[in-house]
């Protein structure tokens, strides 16, 4: 089960980062969005880079939903932080963008911050959960007393 959870988080990082970079590549072909005709951006969906990007982001979305069904939102979001690093590396080496030292430092700090959170609990303990855990114990204690 732990392996499955790790694979789901890996899929979130990989698909998310690659999908975003493919979208950027597609938008380079498309050009600048004109504010006077904002709906023109929908025609970008015909671009193959954007289509493959959307396929990757669909994989990201399915993995993300699965993680959200297991853990807290405030845990899942930062736990996927390595996706930022994937985006920066691909932006530098695939899109040939200039990534300054400040941006690398920012990426590093974000990764540290969001990595920090993954060392804490993944799920908030609810009162109902605690009650459910105590109920079988109380029932067992009650039957023991009756006996």
């Amino acid at each position: 089960m732990q392996l499955r959870k790790n694979l789901v988080y890996l899929a979130i990082m990989g698909f998310g980062g690659i999908g975003d970079v493919l979208l950027k590549r597609g938008m380079q072909d498309f050009g600048v969005v004109d504010l006077h005709h904002p709906w023109h951006v929908v025609t970008a969906l015909a671009n193959p880079w954007i289509l493959v990007g959307i396929v990757c982001l669909t994989g990201f979305f399915a993995s993300y939903l699965t993680a959200l069904s297991w853990h807290d939102l405030s845990y899942v979001l930062p736990a996927t932080a390595m996706g930022y690093v994937v985006v920066t590396l691909l932006s530098r080496y695939f899109l040939h963008e200039q990534v300054s030292g400040w941006r690398w430092a920012g990426i590093l700090l974000i990764s540290c911050g969001v990595g920090f959170v993954t060392r804490g609990p993944a799920v908030t303990e609810r009162k109902e959960d605690q009650r459910k855990e105590k109920e079988p114990l109380a029932a067992a204690k009650g039957s023991h007393e009756l006996a």
Binding site: S69, P78, S91, R103, V117
Partner: protein, 124 residues
Amino acid sequence: MPKLWIAIAMIVVFSTAGDVLLSRSMKGIGDMAELRDRKGLLAVIMRVFSDGTFLIALSCMTLGFFSLLTALSWGDASLVVPSSASLTFICSAVAAKIFLKEDVDHRRWISAALVCVGVALLAK
């Protein structure tokens, strides 16, 4: 305010609303991996797409997606993607505490502060 940052703000607002609604929807549905093992992928898809909260979340995500496309056409991916995602992370932590009653402890707040500084560096 430069138009790029307005587009980034729109991404953050729509994504945060979408994340909170998605989390609420998924907690209602339960363990998706277990559901898929028990009833199959089609049953999972049917269950997810018949949930009203999920559909509203999806609408928010769609608006966030088109804001992202617009922002990407105006700025570098290495600025737009991390800054919008990081700000979404902070707003989502606040929204998760308020709306989902999650236990956002000191560890999660400290990481939010580190992310804030990281975002400031990204804008340089």
